[in-house]
Symmetry: C2
Subunit: 414 residues, 2 copies
Amino acid sequence: MYQIAVMGHGVVGSGVVEVFYKNRESIQKKAGAEMDIKRILDLQEFPGCPYEDKFTKDFQEILNDPEITVVVETMGGLNPAYHYVKSCLLSGKSVTTSNKELVAAKGAELLKIARENNVNFLFEASVGGGIPIIRPISQCLAANDIETIEGILNGTTNFILTKMIREQMNFEDALALAQKLGYAEKDPTADVEGHDACRKICILASLAFGRHVYPEQVQTEGISGITLADVEYAENWGGVVKLIARAQKLENGKVLAWVGPAFVSRESQLSTVDDVFNAVLVRGDATGDVVFYGKGAGKLPTASAVVADVIDCVKHVQARKYLYWEDGSPDDVADPMAAEAELYVRAVSGQPHRALEEIKKAFSCVRMLSRSGAPRDELAFVTGRDQEGRLRGRLHEMSGWLEPQSVIRVLEDQ
Amino acid sequence: MYQIAVMGHGVVGSGVVEVFYKNRESIQKKAGAEMDIKRILDLQEFPGCPYEDKFTKDFQEILNDPEITVVVETMGGLNPAYHYVKSCLLSGKSVTTSNKELVAAKGAELLKIARENNVNFLFEASVGGGIPIIRPISQCLAANDIETIEGILNGTTNFILTKMIREQMNFEDALALAQKLGYAEKDPTADVEGHDACRKICILASLAFGRHVYPEQVQTEGISGITLADVEYAENWGGVVKLIARAQKLENGKVLAWVGPAFVSRESQLSTVDDVFNAVLVRGDATGDVVFYGKGAGKLPTASAVVADVIDCVKHVQARKYLYWEDGSPDDVADPMAAEAELYVRAVSGQPHRALEEIKKAFSCVRMLSRSGAPRDELAFVTGRDQEGRLRGRLHEMSGWLEPQSVIRVLEDQ
């Protein structure tokens, strides 16, 4: 009999308990062993809950219980999750977590501790909720060299952008609707400003490329500046605006990573990923493009991913899973300004005719865009591909003629 | 040092050797062990090949070599692959295969032998080429009850249908083009008539639902009867024609499985899967819809999936992977005629006005479809949902007024 502890009885944690008891028979069959949940750690009271007797407020009751072999962490945040998880691994317990903030900040360190203590540290649920992505990348694509990972990793912002694209709702109204429907938090900063997507791309990039990419190394921009004008110009260009997280291994061995709004061509599979859905595209040297798609959040999808990790921990109490990356360094990550890019620009100009001439001179492959009802002083265009720093430099040089309101990357087609 | 044998040096087998030696260093790192390919079995000669000294024409040299612990089977077909694979498993060697015909026909038996001999029998490459799908279903979705699996599992027919939809090419021309480009065999029967997709859905259904579903139990129809008229009516209806393979667990515990052309709504993620791409949608009780998308065939994608299985075999020489299903029986599979469906019908009638009245009487939720340039005696409609047998019975009763030319299922939206 394997005993499990669940730390945190919020949305995901209570879902883990629910999924476990609902499908316990098939879960035990798949794990090839008897299992039970012995302790649930939460500071709140849950009177009348059918598992009331399992609750504890004292982490030491879990840490010091030699019967507990697998610990689930669904508390979220860095503290005290980091301390608790580290202590469990050091005391020889396997840990599975849905906490992307923890993995993005401390993944390399915790993986190392897990290895040194011959236990597993798994986190399938930290990216893409119920979409299997961590395990396919680490196992199924083991015979590939991964070149690029790009995706729509945040459901809240994808919902907001979908409303803007399909129903011409403006950003503020779409955000208010997302909050009303429970898709966005009261304080939506982590989603809307791209921090959540940034943590997830850090985890995927670290896994795919073998060295830790830290959130502070990834240029991150949110969608709060996106207007309906940008959405219309994207339509005219032939695509949609999406919040994209992207990591690419460059030929010099460095990782180019960014999070930000991007123009995505209608030809791309990512362009049809709407509402709260997420999708991750993995480009390998042998497989070509593989896309994983599904609901990226939600109680039961995320909980089922955690429980699958628990099964894996039980099946591998003796054998360690291969899931590892090294510590990272500032040198690992490339400067986006030095890489190739294409930019969409929406700007105003007091002398639009003169500005148009300057734009055509500055960007050799420029393509002007149009929308109905545009103010006469508005200009919009995509620049053609060049070094991003050079493109932005040219825009800066034109600041006498042209005042950019919005600058968005164009996602490269393959 | 783990020694590997590769049986069959055709497209996939030579790809396995190529991928192995190209990425050997990272493969060994991931496996945590040294590995080499010791023998390659093929009846042909490969003079000048860099691995010439490894070739053998004698299967016994592999079977009787105690150093060989993992055997790759990429010969295809049932014989002698079945005999060889069975012998290897019985003698304590793990086997990984890309041979869908073998797994669809003999999976349950070979999995049982593998279990009895404490070795692994893996076949990630048998479905979806380089798209990870077998492993995510068996592991990542372990905490789910899977309800439905549906997908576009054959790239050749998807290429042909894409040409018909996008370029109004007729079936014969699109097939000829597919053959010219190497996407279709000289004898295209297995692809075009749905047998290949049938084998794949058998494997996925067996894995998801735990009991073997055999190809002869699955009602299978190909796309050779699809015309440009059907493509136009699908467009008018609001979708596209795709060759769909589908398996669903019914409430009575039986599996409903079929392969055939289907109208797919533009709202479905499957509708935008074009050209030679494949996609598999898995609907779980906890995860909701998860879609796996990528190139479903090709030398390197398929080979990389095989090599990933080899890595898994080496890592699990002592521990068995959970991948198992029981033998099946005729009672496991439901009769599609007894299940709910909606049908698209294209028909001719000598008395179209009278026929229209009869159609409206027979199908209460009928929706008539139109296309430009339709002959005056042509009628097309979708029936609304009802028991499939009842719908077909009503069509039969109208045979005096209406002569169906094409009857295609409408894929249910979720």
